[in-house]
Amino acid sequence: MQKRSSFFPAFLFFLFLIGIIFLFSQSNIFGGFFEKMTLPLQKITFGIFNLSEKSTEDKLRQENMKLTTELAAMAEIEKENKALHDQFAISTPSSKSLLPAQVIGRHDEDIIVDKGKQDGIETGQIVVLKDNVVGQVSEISIHRAVIKLLGNSSISFTANTAKTEASGVISGKGEGNIIFDKVLLSEKLEKDDVVITKGDVEIDGLGYMPGLVVGKISSVNKKASSLFQSAEIKSLVDFEKLETVFILVGK
C-alpha cells in the first residue's frame, strides 16, 4: 500500500500544470497545433461510428426536403414580387457565403465540426443545409466549432409560416423538440405549413437571415383561453444523419 506522501507531490505538480494551462488557455499557444494533430483521429472515429447506408427512406426524405425548400422559396419570391408591385423596398441579396464543414462529433443536442476560428467561424453564425436551419455556432476553438442544433433549449428566433404568414417565435425545447410559439390567436396555423425565418440579423451581421426553412408544422396547440397559440415543428433535416453542414460566414 502506497503512502499518501508518495503521490501527493506528483498530484500537486500536475495541479500546478493545470493552473498554468488555465492561465494560457485564451492565448491558444499550443492548442492550435494539438487540435490540428487530433483532427484526423476524431474524423476517423466519427466515420467508423457513423457508417450508415443511405436507405430509400433517406433518399425520399432528402427529396422531400428539397421540394419543401423550393416551395418555401417560391412562396418567398411570390411575396417579394408582390412587394415590388406595391413599391415596397426590397433588401439587396445577402452577401453571406457558405462554408462547408464536416461533422466530426455529436453530443446530446450539439454537433462538432472541423472548422474553427482559423476558417473565419464566429460564435453566433448560422448553420444550414440546403436552406434549412440546422443550428447556431455556440463554441469555437482554432480548428473546431460546436453547433447547437435547432432543438437545443437555448435556441430562439422569430419566424413566420409560408402560407398563412402567421408570426411567432421558434424555440428549442430540448430533446430535439422545436416549438413555434407566441402566435396570436387571431392568426392561422395549418398542419404541414412550412415555417421560415423572419430575419433576426444583428448589427454585426450575425443571426438568422430571412427565408431559411425551419421545418413543417406537425401539430397545432390552440386554446381559446390562452393568449397565444403554438405549434410543434418537425425539421426537414435528420440531425442524426448529418455529415456535412454549411456555415453562413461573412457580414
Partner: protein, 135 residues
C-alpha cells in the same frame, strides 16, 4: 500499461465523437486500482487535455476532474478496500454524477447507472486477466 494507454486513447476518441458516457474516467479508475501510485496522474492529465481539445471545452477542465478523481481513489485506498466491486460501482456512479453535472450533460441518472454497470464488467474482466497472469 501499454494496453491501458491504448484503451484510454480509444475511450477519448469515443467520448470526443459519439458518446457522452465517461468511459475514460472508468479506465482511469481501473488503472488507479492496478497501479496505485503517482503514474496515473500524468495519464489523467494528458487524457483530460486531449478530451478537452476534441470536445471544444475549456482546456484543462477534464484534466482537473480526472486528477481529483484519481487522487481521491488513491487517497481512499488507506481507508477502504478499493479492489472490490462495491467500491468500483459507487466510485463510478458518484464520479459520473459529478462529471455530468460539471459538463451539463443530460439523462445523468440513466447514464450514471449504465456507466457503473460497464465499470463493474470491465473490472471483472481486468480482475480475471490479472489473477490468470499471477497464477
Amino acid at each position: 500499461m501499454f494496453f491501458f494507454l491504448l484503451l484510454i486513447i480509444i475511450s477519448i476518441s469515443l467520448e470526443g465523437t459519439v458518446t457522452t458516457l465517461p468511459i475514460t474516467m472508468v479506465f482511469l479508475l481501473c488503472l488507479s486500482l492496478i497501479r496505485r501510485d503517482w503514474t496515473v496522474f500524468p495519464i489523467a492529465f494528458f487524457a483530460g487535455l486531449l478530451l478537452d481539445l476534441l470536445r471544444v471545452q475549456t482546456v484543462g477542465v477534464s484534466s482537473l476532474f480526472f486528477m481529483i478523481f484519481t487522487f481521491l481513489i488513491l487517497l481512499y485506498q488507506r481507508k477502504y478496500e478499493i479492489n472490490s466491486y462495491p467500491f468500483v460501482v459507487v466510485a463510478t456512479f458518484l464520479g459520473s454524477i459529478i462529471y455530468f453535472f460539471i459538463f451539463g450533460l443530460k439523462h445523468f441518472i440513466i447514464q450514471s447507472i449504465l456507466i457503473s454497470i460497464i465499470a463493474a464488467l470491465l473490472f471483472a474482466i481486468i480482475k480475471f486477466f490479472f489473477t490468470k497472469n499471477k497464477s
